[in-house]
């Protein structure tokens, strides 16, 4: 065990960890992202082509990706 770790903790006093999205706004952010993701996903389902894949499917996947992670956190399962 390394006793210098306590000094590392003291030295880092000025930089507490703050998440990108705070606990209070996790549900709103997750909800908006999931709605956006499902909407874009739905639009892609109606018009599936090589062009809409990067234009609709990729942003839909991205929105769903972050939406799912934040929705997990918003409901209390802190992943």
């Amino acid at each position: 065990m390394d006793s210098s770790l306590h000094e590392v903790w003291q030295a880092a006093a000025g930089s507490p960890f703050v998440p990108t999205v705070g606990k209070g706004s996790q549900f709103l952010v997750a909800f908006v992202l999931l709605v956006l993701g499902f909407t874009l996903g739905g639009a892609f389902a109606l018009n599936r082509s090589a062009v809409t894949l990067p234009v609709l499917a990729a942003p839909a996947s991205l929105a769903l990706a972050f939406g799912v992670v934040y929705m997990f956190c918003a409901v209390g399962v802190y992943v």
Binding site: W9, S15, F17, V69, G76
Partner: protein, 493 residues
């Protein structure tokens, strides 16, 4: 769990980073010596004061001893003997120089030399070797668990509880002791029975009783290994709370900005059993006219300010008899067991709560993270709580690496420190979990710190959204490919 199983199928498609390779520094608390080992007679205890405190439901012993090096060479190892059964119940050993607090760390460790031997030794290594003829004042503190026996062993539920405790009036030592005395401190002045010894000097007999304190001695020179068994029986009308196992989980979430705590207790009452069946009517009556009882009816957990979402469950489910008060000044969780816990009874339960990550987690200048949490946060009870086995599991985010830890808990009590993998929601590889096992701790070590540092690379941070992104993209691309398949039966034109 299903979610993580589905996503793990896509893991092979995405090489998102290297597997979590974690290092941990573990400590060993015992050394091996030959079976014929006897501590060399290189020291003499010039003066020794042995203070035994039986005020709480564990025994705290404090040996203040002036040691003299009587050998011609400098010495750096001092041995303290214990009975073999005491050794298994010994914990929280701390050694200090009573006159010089800057004397550096004394290392106390158990010596393994012969498992069959009745006498086992604790070895204390001096920070600097003690020169020939020189002396040093050591303050050795330790705790003994499961130390008492209720006498009588079974009583009525409204009766007073008495405990008995046996020890040696001469402090067990591996060296000749010139002068010594043993003080025993009790929770009350009601001490109905204690062994009397012939006195010396001004005292006709030992012990001398002053309020809630008994003093055996001072005694004149005693040889190494001298013992004088004595026993005391005293009133202890409080629960003898013993936690046979505590599992404490600390789960760190960077995405949620949260540190979640969960503690699972296996709690026993080691006091007097009931001599008749439990009578609920008498119990309710006694709550009004005689509120003090040896049954455990409430536990108070002072948590860190800012704690939220507390819960309290047992094997049946949620227990509603709890109160959680959280404001700017305090966060106090008060729980009542489902039933008053009497001697010989057991009550396993679970509590948990959340805290903001900013309270416990900081970013280091080197780009890593440092976590600082209390090692123990058990109940704060007037009568104390003892913990036989403690397992702390710090569940770090998935992909955390280079794990190092330090704790201010005495190293003699730490038995194991290891890094494992813990799999839960939305995981692909599993989270890095630092598991520290300790034994024989008491609530005096409440709020001792555990500091953990780790690295958390960007690709590991983004692993969860990237896995979901990959999964969703695979579904969309699959839908597009399936939609493009030509399944018509008609012939080509």
């Amino acid at each position: 769990m299903k979610t993580s199983a589905v996503f793990s199928a896509f893991l092979s498609l995405l090489s998102l980073g290297s597997a979590a390779s974690s290092e941990v520094k573990s400590s060993s608390t015992s050394t091996t010596l030959p079976a014929t080992f006897k501590p060399p007679q290189v020291f003499k205890n010039a003066n020794l004061v042995h203070v035994i405190s039986v005020e709480k439901n564990y025994v705290k012993e404090n040996i203040n001893v002036l040691v003299e090096n009587i050998e011609k060479a400098a010495q750096h190892e001092y041995f303290v003997p214990f009975m073999a059964d005491q050794m298994a119940r010994l914990g929280g050993v701390e050694v200090k120089d009573r006159k010089d607090s800057t004397a550096g760390p004394f290392v106390a460790e158990a010596v393994e030399f012969d498992q069959e031997s009745d006498i086992q030794y604790l070895r204390i290594r001096f920070p600097k070797p003690l020169a020939p003829g020189a002396s040093q004042t050591l303050g050795i503190t330790y705790y003994l668990l499961k130390a008492y026996k209720p006498l009588p062993a079974s009583i009525k539920q409204e009766e007073q509880q008495y405990l008995s405790f046996s020890f040696s009036a001469y402090c067990p030592s591996a060296y000749t002791t010139s002068k010594q005395k043993t003080e025993v401190k009790f929770p009350t002045s009601t001490i109905p029975d204690y062994t009397k010894l012939p006195g010396s000097g001004d005292a006709k007999e030992f012990p001398l009783k002053q309020g809630s304190k008994l003093t055996y001695g001072p005694f004149d020179e005693k040889p190494a290994g001298a013992t004088q068994p004595v026993s005391v029986r005293f009133e202890f009308n409080k629960p003898v709370t013993h936690v046979s196992r505590l599992e404490r989980d600390v789960e760190v979430s960077h995405w949620g900005g949260n540190v979640a705590f969960e503690e699972r207790y296996t709690l026993h009452h080691r006091g007097a059993n009931l001599s008749a069946l439990f009578n609920r009517v008498k119990w309710q009556q006694s709550q009004y006219y005689q509120p003090t009882t040896f049954a455990l009816k409430e536990l108070k957990f002072p948590l860190r300010v800012g704690s939220a979402d507390a819960y309290y469950t047992d094997v049946i489910g949620n227990v509603s008899t709890s109160r959680f008060r959280s404001n700017k000044r305090e966060a106090l969780l008060e729980i009542k067991p489902r039933y008053p816990v009497f001697g010989g009874w057991k009550y396993p339960f679970t509590i948990g709560w959340n805290s903001d990550a900013k309270t416990f987690l900081r970013k280091t200048a080197a780009g890593g993270f440092v976590l600082n949490v209390p090692f123990l946060e058990g109940p704060r009870q007037q009568e104390g709580v003892e913990y036989e086995q403690v397992q702390i599991r710090v569940i770090l985010p998935e992909g955390a690496e280079n794990v190092q830890y330090h704790t201010t808990i005495p190293t003699q009590s730490i038995t194991e420190g290891d890094v494992e993998i813990h799999r839960t929601f939305l995981d692909t590889l599993g989270r890095t979990a630092l598991v520290i096992k300790a034994r024989n701790l008491v609530d005096d070590f409440r709020d001792r710190e555990l500091t953990v540092t780790y690295d958390y690379p960007l690709m590991a941070i983004l692993r969860k959204p990237l896995v979901v992104f990959g999964s969703a993209m695979a579904v969309f691309v699959g839908a597009w490919l399936v939609g493009n398949l030509d399944l018509k039966i008609a012939t080509r034109k």
